[in-house]
C-alpha cells in the first residue's frame, strides 16, 4: 500500500457495509403497505425464529433469532411475514453488484454485508466519509434499500462502527481514536465472545472491552485457552491484522430446518436429513457449485449442538452423493436417545461444478438423473420431484395442507 500519485492512502481504509433490516426492507419493496409498520420476517411455525425485524418491531424488543412466539407476545400488532429466500438472494446479488462496482476489494460476509478496502479510492473521494456516503447513495439509488456503513483503520472496528451507525447512517472511527470508541462497549460485542465466554469473563469482573484490555493475556489463557485468549486480547487492544479477502459471499452453501416437534425416531431423522440433502443439492446445482466438504449440524432438544464434517474424494452436489456423506456424518453424532430439534447440512470447499472432474468406476447415473430433476423443478417447482423415500411423508403433508 502506501502512496498513490503522491497522495497518502486513507488511514481509515476498512469499510463495513450492512443492509438495514435487509429481509424486511425487501418485503417492503414487494409490498409498500408494510412501510412504516412493525414487520417481522421469520418462520411462522410453532418453532420458527425471527430472521429479521424492522426498527419499529425492534423498539418493542424483538430481535433476530428470537422465537417467533415471543416476538408475537412482545409486538402483537406487527405484520408477520414468512421468508422469501429467492427474492432475498436475487436482491443480494444486485447489492453485491453495486459493492463490486465500487471497488473490487470486496469480502462478502453474508447475503447482506461485506467488508471492503477503500484505500485505493483516494483519488475519487475527498475523505473516507465521502466514500462511504457515496456507496450508501449508490445502494439507495440502484437497489432502493437503506444500508449503514462503518469505517476504521482496523477491520473489526469498522463492523462495530456500522452497527453503531444504524439505521441508515455512517460512522467513521478516526485513526488513533479506536480505543475510545471500543473500550466502553460490552465484551460480547467482540467476535468470538458467546454466552459461555461472556460468563467466564464476568467471573474476572470483565464487563466492557476496556476491562478486558487491562487483563493480562496469561490470566485469560487459564480460563479461555490459549487461542481464544490471544484472539480476544488482541481485539481488546485494537489489534487486528486481517486484510480484506476478496471473494466470499459463497464460501459455503447450507440449509437447515428447525422442527416444530423434536424428531425422535431414527427413521424420522434420516427422512428429514434426506430432504435437506435434496434441498441442498438443488441449491448447489442452481448456483453451479459442487463441494469438497460436507458439514452436518444437529441440535438436540436440550440445545446441545454437534457438528461433523467429511471431506470427500470428489466434490459432491447431487442428492445421492450428499446423502451418502450425510449418513456417514449422522453415524458420528452422539445422540444418546435425545430428540432432534434442528438439522442442518452444508457444503464447503466449493468448486465450480463444471470444472474437469475425475469420473468413477462405480456406476453413477446420478448426474444425468440430477440434471433431469433440476430441469423438472425449474419448470414445475420443487415439489414436482423428490426422493421416493420421502414419498409417504410428502403425500401426508399434502393431505394436511
Amino acid at each position: 500500500m502506501g502512496y498513490r500519485g503522491g497522495m497518502p492512502d486513507f488511514a481509515e481504509r476498512f469499510l463495513h457495509i450492512d443492509m438495514d433490516a435487509f429481509f424486511v426492507e425487501v418485503e417492503r419493496q414487494k409490498d409498500p403497505g408494510l412501510v412504516g409498520l412493525p414487520v417481522v420476517v421469520g418462520g411462522l411455525g410453532r418453532r420458527g425464529v425471527v430472521a429479521s425485524a424492522s426498527y419499529e418491531a425492534r423498539a418493542a424488543g424483538v430481535h433476530s433469532a428470537m422465537p417467533i412466539g415471543e416476538a408475537r407476545r412482545l409486538c402483537p400488532h406487527a405484520r408477520f411475514v414468512p421468508p422469501d429466500l429467492t427474492s432475498y438472494s436475487e436482491v443480494s446479488h444486485q447489492v453485491f453488484d453495486v459493492f463490486r462496482g465500487f471497488t473490487p476489494l470486496v469480502e462478502g460476509l453474508s447475503v447482506d454485508e461485506a467488508f471492503m478496502d477503500i484505500s485505493g479510492l483516494r483519488l475519487h473521494h475527498s475523505s473516507p466519509a465521502a466514500a462511504g456516503e457515496e456507496l450508501r447513495l449508490r445502494v439507495r439509488q440502484e437497489v432502493g434499500l437503506p444500508a449503514s456503513v462503518g469505517i476504521s483503520a482496523i477491520k473489526f472496528i469498522s463492523k462495530l462502527a456500522s452497527d453503531a451507525a444504524k439505521p441508515d447512517g455512517l460512522l467513521v472511527v478516526d485513526a488513533g481514536k479506536e480505543l475510545e470508541f471500543l473500550h466502553p462497549m460490552p465484551v460480547r460485542r467482540l467476535w468470538g465472545v458467546g454466552e459461555a465466554t461472556r460468563a467466564s469473563l464476568e467471573a474476572l469482573a470483565v464487563v466492557t472491552i476496556g476491562d478486558l484490555a487491562t487483563v493480562p493475556e496469561r490470566v485469560l489463557v487459564s480460563r479461555l485457552g490459549p487461542s481464544l485468549a490471544h484472539h480476544l486480547s488482541q481485539l481488546a487492544n485494537g489489534i487486528d491484522k486481517r486484510e480484506i479477502e476478496p471473494g466470499g459471499g459463497a464460501k459455503s452453501i447450507s440449509v437447515e430446518e428447525t422442527y416444530s416437534e423434536d424428531l425422535r425416531s431414527g427413521e424420522a431423522i434420516e427422512r428429514a436429513l434426506l430432504r435437506l440433502c435434496d434441498r441442498l443439492s438443488s441449491r448447489m446445482r442452481r448456483s453451479g457449485y459442487a463441494g469438497h466438504t460436507v458439514n452436518l449440524k444437529v441440535r438436540f432438544g436440550d440445545f446441545e449442538t454437534q457438528s461433523r464434517a467429511l471431506t470427500l474424494g470428489e466434490p459432491a452436489e447431487t442428492t445421492p452423493a450428499l446423502w451418502e456423506a450425510a449418513q456417514v456424518l449422522l453415524s458420528r453424532i452422539d445422540r444418546s436417545n435425545r430428540g432432534v430439534r434442528l438439522l442442518g447440512i452444508g457444503a464447503s470447499g466449493l468448486a465450480a461444478a463444471d470444472q474437469p472432474r475425475q469420473l468413477s468406476l462405480e456406476k453413477q447415473p446420478r448426474h444425468v438423473a440430477a440434471d433431469v430433476v433440476e430441469d423438472v423443478r425449474e419448470r414445475f417447482g420443487d415439489a414436482a420431484v423428490f426422493p421416493a423415500s420421502l414419498m409417504r411423508q410428502e403425500a401426508k403433508e399434502r393431505r394436511d395442507e
Binding site: 467429511l310 474424494g313 474437469p356 472432474r357 475425475q358 469420473l359 468413477s360 468406476l361 462405480e362
Partner: protein
C-alpha cells in the same frame, strides 16, 4: 534374559519387526517389541494389532526369558553401537544393551501386557510361491489401492484363484488393477490391507514365501520371518463387471516416451488438472494447460487404430499405470472420453490397469 549377537544381525531383526509398530498407538505397550529367547533363538514381534511382524535370529543364549522394549529406541540404539558383538540383558525392569564400550539402560515394558497376537499357532500348510514374483505383483496392483480409511474395502488387495492361478485385484474406484500370477494355485478368496502387504518385501521377503489364511488373518511366512494381517471382512466390488468387453480404439505406444511426456505434463498440472490425449492416426498429442500457470504440449508418434478422440486423465493416475509396466510398448485401449481406458503391456497380458478418464 541374556543374549549375545552380532550388532548388524540384531539391528536387522529389531528393525524389521519394528516396521509393524505404529507411531500413534493408543496403547503404550504397542510401542514395544516383544523379545522372546528360548532354545538358542531370539524371536522378535512387533504389532499394531492389525499387522504383526515376527522375525527370528539364532543367538548365543546365556539366559532364556522374555521382555518388551521400546521399538524405535532399541533398534536405533543397537544400530548406533560400534560394530561387533552386542550383549542384551534384562534386570530390575531395565534392558541393558552394551557393545565395545557404550552402555544403554532402557526401561522395559511388562511382557505380560503384550497382546496375544497368536504368533505361535501355525496357520497350517500354506500355499508356497516365488517370493520375488509375489512382491513384484503386489507392487503392481498396490498402486490402485486406496489410502482412504473411510472406505476400508478399497484399501485392500483381493486374492482369489482364477481358473488355475492366483489373481490379485485392487481398486480405489478411479482405477482398477488386475494381476494374474501364473503357477500359484489354491489360494482362498480373501481381502488383505495393502498397507500390510507392502511390508512383505521390506520385512520378510525371500525366495520362497508361503501364504495361509486362518481365523480371519492372512499370514505370509518365509525363512526370514512372518507377516500376519487381519483380513478385511467386507466384500470386494464385483470388479469383473467393471471391465468392458471390448474397446473399439487402440493406441500402441513406446512406454518410456509416454512416461517421460506425462512426467513433463505433470510439472504444469496439479492433481486436479488432467492431461489431454488427442488420439489420431499418426500418434497422440499430450497437452495440459492451467489458466494461472501456462501449459505444455507435445506429440508422440504411435500407432493408433480407431476414431479420433480427445480423452483426459489425471496425471498421477496415468503415471502410476505407465510406470508400473516395465516393457517396451504399451497398449492404451479406449471406448470414448467418458468410459474407462485400459493400459496393458503389449507383450504381457497378465497385468491390466483400467483407468477412468476425467470429464472435461
Amino acid at each position: 534374559m541374556r543374549i549375545r549377537a552380532e550388532r548388524d544381525d540384531l539391528a536387522d531383526v529389531l528393525t524389521r519387526a519394528g516396521r509393524a509398530v505404529g507411531t500413534r498407538s493408543a496403547l503404550p505397550i504397542l510401542q514395544g517389541l516383544l523379545c522372546d529367547v528360548s532354545g538358542g533363538t531370539l524371536r522378535v514381534t512387533g504389532t499394531d494389532t492389525e499387522i504383526t511382524i515376527e522375525t527370528a535370529l539364532d543367538v548365543e543364549v546365556l539366559e532364556e526369558g522374555r521382555t518388551v522394549v521400546p521399538a524405535k529406541l532399541v533398534a536405533e540404539a543397537v544400530r548406533k553401537l560400534p560394530a561387533g558383538a552386542v550383549s542384551f540383558s534384562t534386570s530390575d525392569g531395565e534392558v541393558e544393551i552394551t557393545g565395545n564400550g557404550p552402555r544403554f539402560n532402557l526401561r522395559e515394558f511388562d511382557a505380560n501386557d503384550f497382546p496375544d497376537v497368536g504368533g505361535d499357532s501355525d496357520a497350517g500348510s500354506g500355499v508356497e510361491m516365488d517370493g520375488e514374483a509375489l512382491i513384484a505383483a503386489l507392487n503392481q496392483v498396490g498402486i490402485a489401492a486406496s489410502n482412504d480409511d473411510g472406505r476400508p474395502t478399497l484399501t485392500g488387495v483381493l486374492f482369489e484363484t482364477e481358473s488355475d492361478h492366483l489373481r490379485l485385484v485392487a481398486t480405489d474406484s478411479y482405477r482398477l488393477a488386475v494381476r494374474d500370477v501364473p503357477g500359484v494355485a489354491g489360494v482362498d478368496t480373501t481381502l488383505i490391507p495393502y498397507r500390510a502387504l507392502k511390508e512383505i518385501g521390506r520385512t520378510i521377503g525371500a525366495d520362497k514365501v508361503s501364504m495361509a489364511i486362518a481365523e480371519r488373518k492372512g499370514s505370509f511366512v518365509s525363512d526370514r520371518g512372518r507377516m500376519t494381517a487381519r483380513v478385511i471382512e467386507s466384500s470386494f466390488p464385483n470388479y469383473r463387471q467393471l471391465l468392458p468387453d471390448e474397446y473399439p480404439s487402440r493406441l500402441t505406444i513406446n512406454r518410456d516416451a509416454l512416461l517421460e511426456a506425462v512426467g513433463r505434463a505433470s510439472l504444469v498440472a496439479e492433481d486436479h488438472i488432467p492431461v489431454r490425449l488427442s488420439l489420431g492416426s499418426g500418434g497422440v498429442e499430450l497437452s495440459v494447460s492451467r489458466q494461472d500457470v501456462g501449459g505444455e504440449t507435445e506429440y508422440i508418434e504411435a500407432v493408433y487404430e480407431g476414431e479420433d478422440m480427445v480423452i483426459a486423465f489425471n496425471t498421477r493416475y496415468l503415471t502410476d499405470g505407465v510406470a508400473s509396466m516395465k516393457t517396451e510398448n504399451l497398449l492404451l485401449e479406449t471406448i470414448n472420453p467418458l468410459k474407462p481406458g485400459l493400459l496393458t503391456a503389449a507383450d504381457d497380458p497378465s497385468f491390466r490397469y483400467l483407468l477412468m478418464p476425467v470429464r472435461l
